[in-house]
């Protein structure tokens, strides 16, 4: 198998799993959001990796007859980035509200308060 072969995909999977781990293992809500955006960015990298053609150039028409990389993953991810920011803003606003209501952004402490009352 020629380098880089599938190597890119494996790095992406590692990054994705790191994001997933942060989301599951950490109790702090803001850190969970960071983990979620790491996960998201990794998925973007995965899509763009698939769109690359060896020896290709950016999909903007230029004179001559060059090889273009696939523009469709780029379009998809462009939309996904912007929607990602929208969800991030929404999540952070919810965290601010939770902090207002419980005085903490640690999941464990919120849980404890819920069980006490």
């Amino acid at each position: 198998m020629e380098w880089p072969g599938l190597y890119n995909y494996w790095i992406v999977i590692f990054l994705m799993m790191a994001g997933l781990y942060v989301v599951m293992a950490r109790a702090n809500l803001i850190k969970k959001m960071v983990g979620l955006s790491v996960f998201q960015a990794s998925v973007f990298i995965f899509y763009l990796t698939m769109g690359k053609v060896a020896g290709g150039t950016a999909p903007i028409v230029i004179p001559g007859n060059p090889v273009y990389s696939n523009p469709l993953p780029h379009v998809l991810i462009l939309t996904a980035i912007v929607v990602g920011v929208a969800t991030l803003a929404m999540g952070l606003a919810l965290i601010v509200r939770i902090n207002e209501a419980y005085g903490t952004i640690e999941e464990d402490e919120i849980d404890a308060q819920e069980h006490d009352s």
Binding site: L6, L20, V83, V85
Partner: protein, 172 residues
């Protein structure tokens, strides 16, 4: 990027974590340039590294800067992550190599857009042509999503600032 992610997992100072996530986005943007996604790199650098970081810093200033070290078991998440990762790696074994021009993704509808988009829309940038012309309604839907999120954020935060003001008045 692997180092950045490792630090995000280890550090407990949330300010540093947020900054690292900005750096991670910037690194992702440079990678997008390498794989020819110039438009995506542009957006990721502006939105991912810029606006997201500002939003998170705003949330930090309204909450707290330090993460409490929780005494919870890390074995279950680690096991889940390992199993999922292994399954995904197994999935990639059937995938075409990086940059392979014969990959199925490049031989379905993509050539049509590459060949005809300039003729049909007279926009030289194919990404723009697809986003604004062929998939214009999807972009409109995307704007609706952002609008909804903006309204939601405003509704959530107006109550926060409103209550703060009442407390201030009570104190005064």
């Amino acid at each position: 990027m692997v180092l950045t992610v490792f630090l995000i997992i280890r550090l407990h100072n949330l300010f540093a974590v947020v900054m690292l996530s900005g750096i991670y986005s910037l690194l992702a943007a440079t990678f997008f340039v390498v794989v020819d996604g110039v438009d995506v790199a542009f957006t990721e650098a502006a939105v991912g590294a810029g606006i997201s970081t500002v939003l998170m810093l705003g949330a930090l200033s309204l909450t707290t800067q330090h993460e409490k070290v929780a005494a919870r078991s890390t074995w279950v998440p680690l096991a889940v992550v390992a199993v999922t990762g292994a399954a995904l790696v197994y999935g990639t074994l059937d995938m075409p190599n990086y940059g392979d021009p014969d990959a199925p993704i490049h031989n379905h509808v993509a050539p049509r857009y590459i060949e005809d988009s300039l003729k049909e829309t007279s926009v030289p940038n194919m990404v723009t042509a697809v986003l604004a012309s062929y998939r214009g309604y999807d972009t409109l839907g995307e704007v609706t999503v952002i609008f909804t999120a903006g309204v939601g954020v405003l509704l959530l935060l107006v109550r926060v600032t409103g209550r703060r003001r009442e407390e201030d008045e009570d104190a005064a």
